[in-house]
Symmetry: D2
Subunit: 362 residues, 4 copies
């Protein structure tokens, strides 16, 4: 597996730099016969897009997806599906400053030490712009999972700084620019974000993602566990520093009598496990959560060094989100959908002959 | 990559069930010329072994490693290294009860739904016995990393239930059965564990693992990030429900001005990132943490169903740790060592010609 | 994929040296519920075994397969199946001579240049002893393919030196030590081999392998073509220098009007393609052929150099087949079976929802 | 590894259909710092291109390569390199006929049976147009291999129908449209091809490919052998039905005393092995050969069936080469270069610390 590819059987390979000519991906292994059109990418790309509100960065691009291959007369053919998005908002400005300096908290220094060369324009390959193609690829995965198995993957912002939602309603999540589940707090968040932006600083966030309708049996022991693959998938998102399944770090202080999810023939009594036991889905909702660090691109000067080894102060001007976690919600959904899609195919490869096992707990 | 294999270039494939004839692994891709002898596996296997103290389960096995291949006259030859451990403590007792019942919190139900068949003896493949071979394989990785790069990987128990260490000393960690870094609290922990065992219940834990000496440049964007691979590696350990890199979930409430690690030519000012930026090592210590759930194998009855779909109460008798997290410390070290070994090889494959880059922050 | 692993979904990892403690393999991805017992490996291992007749080498070992994992109460469980065979015929003789000298036509020199170290005992890892585990693994693949799809894989010796069969009968193939399809020529072959052995020389051979019952649709474009994977599989067998599908090199002098297999609704008019078009099976018999070089282990002295760089003459004493191609027949079958098994699983992963397509040519 | 990806460390993923909007590839794992410009793809793409002479098909496209990513200021950065070529010669004609009929000798029937849907325009994904991107990707591999190791990969047409070259001169190969090494026979070939085209038929061919300068030690036992990977690589080229390494099928009638390449400190006495022993390069020239079938796209009617299951006669009009083998020479070079590039990286990953071994045979 190349390091820019994700998935064993539903394999997504992304390419492109933030300010290069284009970004794109190749999806290999998609089942044939799925209807897909270019306009179907619109919704999720808009959800992820910058410029959605004044609370996210002001890069404005249409992000028009072109399907280059793998689709004939509106249906997938089983051959690789290439998707392309031209970068239309490339800035012509001089990158000389950035090219000479390692921004603290960014990948500038590590790319330099690894490769001996780096593309400094907008973060190059390390920019979150790459996640656009994950969201695009996941549009296909989400559609197939929904049509074939009734699986639905949804996410929401579960914490921003110290603020957590006071109530929860899925219907609210898509009706505010924060993917926030509590309608009463949206104006509070807006004030909070406005103050943050004025301060020139940024803040971290937590995003939760949930998959409903996953049948029992997806996931593979030992190094192909569903939770292991989810952990890798979510941790691969820019700025993520922590991943939880089910109760996550809450389990440290729990007792076994409290944690284990008791079973009855009409259902599980609880879902502390987050829908996964032994790396395999239980049939309950799959629950994952991730922590995103505050972006390091802020207006407050930070100490660093330049290519000459001299001390410098860095201020990151330009378009930046004060909370990168907000736009991470559709990206988290995308990664969970890609993991589930891959495991759906892996499961039927090995266990396609295993019928309906009883007892089955709904 | 098969689901029982780990690593792209230093590939470890494990096999074996808890109560089958043997467990073992095949290590493919090891550099030639490394000295290795069967007795070198002893220390880490003892650290992981059951029966180390009254606080861990009472399965008593010598865990003698036999090297079946890949070593000639005491040195690795570059061909696959197979390691074998016979299971000598197989119980001859009847597994009928367990075979008919799904233990809550265990993989019994999910294996059943996935495969339509399961080996009920001691948890079969889902038992933590499999981790023995990870520890064995990592002995080789640790040795090569230490000899070739001066890398050292160490772990400790960072929390058990609500208890956290009051002080920290690496020298203390290996001198008590808990891998606990605070010598003054060891007796407190012993009392706590005794009480817990008497109550028939179990508790969760947090394990931290640290790698020193990793040079900058290991790790690959985008889906082969060092932190992404670490997340998958740690989450693949039995009972793990959460993984953090650096400040982990602490970043949610942080500001960017606080989180970003400022740089100077004589060093980084902090290590909130945990030694990884953009998926690539910075040259600082690599910091990871994981949460382990309380084992579901407890003496307190739990509700479940049997194969006939009838409600049953399950009590798990036999040898079980009241805190599985204790023995997870060497396993966490093993997984971090395997990830680093793999990335050391991956780095020199692609970037073997990149020389020493300046500035280099020590 | 590690270089000692074969197959993407039905993944076989082999290990072991010719004169090490043991050889073995781990099979990952086997569907659950297949009945398998240790005695079922007997037939094919005997067919491959040395010492079958005076025309093959005299290494005599029982080759007893031990199933270490992945099978419970006689059925595969879906977890990795480890098979182990102890090397009981290790010679205690001094390998000093061989260790100091590079035998012409063997891998001695190349292993030395690659690894800087080599196991000289009986060829170490480069010995054809490794193929024992391919045959063992393929016993499982053959059984599943037969039970699930009615696929049958068979091979025969199609040429030895200048001799080709005058007639063809599958029933004859298993009734002589040469896997030769013409009963009348068996005594001729025996005389030929006796004379060859006396001369101290060796000869090449051609082995054909055929799979009946493969449904249309197995194989994947572009780099996962069924013929591409077969080519890699057969070329990976020791001593193989050429691989053909269908008419193979015969196509060079053919015309298109002659080569293309015309179709009618009751069947194809011919099978020049060998049952594969565009990398995907047609539903006809899969036909492959391979060329094996004459072994370089002969009694006639050959020029070489030793570790000191001095010229030496090498004579290979000990147990060696004058025609290694004879025993390669079951190995060729094994590799074809492993390829087909892998593609059966890959096909149902991606195309499991594609129903019976019409027209279907029988 | 996805089925449209090639290579473990230098991974090339191709996409695109013959008459879709574009074809392209993503190259992952390229070492950083290599100079590359769009115009460098010109030479090899022209060598492969249709319309080179009246003896190859008349599809006329500029095949302009656009570099979409992975190159900054003219140098590779280590991130994935995406190359794109727009299909400018798409025909607007109705594909209704082809869509209803399975052309004999083509992949129409097998794609249909596999996927239940197929793109009939110009053969869709099964068209040799895909090989354009292999040639493009290999331009990068060839350049790196030449600069870093002095490796040179060259091919030539070694047989067409019954005609073989009477003499050999590398200088001649690039000076005629046939890649033919004998200058005196070029006019004969032209007459032969003219007559063939008039007859409406096609003919097979043999292409040889040679790599000079490969150091000893590249290639991996057992399933990652250099010859095994070459076999897969060449067999994956459209129309290839046979692959040989060194003497290939000639070994069947050879004796061991004749075949084994004797060694002296100043060199090997011969190269029957084709530069590979035990799957690892010897340091001699790597020699491979492949057989290409006559194209099935000919003007002579052939029997087939249509989607309704009715018998039909098929005539393939349009642009087609009477000998597809002619243009396969640069494609064979490309595949050998990709294999060598991958193994160069794999070798230094595992054996990067193995120094110069003596004796070294030049």
């Amino acid at each position: 597996m190349s390091s820019n590819s994700f998935g064993k059987l539903f394999t997504v390979t992304t390419f492109g730099e933030s300010h290069g000519p284009a970004i794109g991906c190749v999806i290999d292994g998609c089942p044939p016969g799925l209807s897909i059109a270019e306009e179907e990418f619109r919704t999720d790309l808009d959800r992820r897009a910058t410029g959605k509100s004044r609370h996210t960065s002001q890069r404005r691009e249409a992000d028009e997806v072109e399907i280059l291959s793998g689709v004939y007369e509106g249906k997938t053919t089983g051959t690789p599906i290439a998707l392309l998005i031209r970068n239309t908002d490339q800035r012509s400005k001089d990158y000389g400053d950035i090219a000479q300096t390692f921004r603290p908290g960014h990948a500038d220094y590590t790319y330099w030490q690894k490769y001996g060369i780096r593309d400094p324009r907008g973060g190059g390959r390390s920019s979150a712009r790459e996640t656009t193609m994950r969201v695009a690829a996941a549009v296909i995965a989400k559609k197939w999972l929904a049509e074939r198995y009734g699986v639905r993957v949804r996410g929401y912002l579960a914490q921003i700084g110290e603020i957590t939602p006071g109530s929860f309603d899925w219907n609210v999540v898509e009706q505010n620019p924060f993917f926030w589940p509590d309608a009463h707090e949206v104006s509070t968040l807006e004030s909070y974000m406005d103050a943050l932006r004025k301060s020139g600083d940024s803040v971290g966030a937590r995003v939760n993602v949930v998959a409903d309708g996953v049948p029992p049996g997806w996931g593979e022991p030992i190094y192909g566990k569903l939770d292991g693959d989810l952990a890798a998938a979510l941790m691969s998102i820019n700025a993520v520093k922590g991943v939880e399944i089910g109760d996550g770090f809450g389990v440290v202080a729990q007792h076994g009598s409290q944690h284990r999810d008791e079973m009855a023939i009409d259902g599980f009594a609880s879902n502390h496990a987050g829908g996964i036991l032994g790396g395999i889905s239980t049939g309950q909702a799959i629950l994952a959560s991730m922590a995103l660090k505050p972006t390091s691109s802020i207006l407050i000067p930070g100490h660093s060094v330049n290519l000459a080894g001299e001390p410098v102060d860095v201020v990151t001007k330009g378009r930046h989100d004060p909370c990168v976690g907000i736009r991470a919600t559709p990206i988290a959904e995308a990664m969970m959908a890609l993991v589930l899609m891959d495991h759906a195919l892996r499961h039927r490869a090995q266990c396609g002959d295993v019928g309906e096992m009883l007892p089955r707990i709904p």
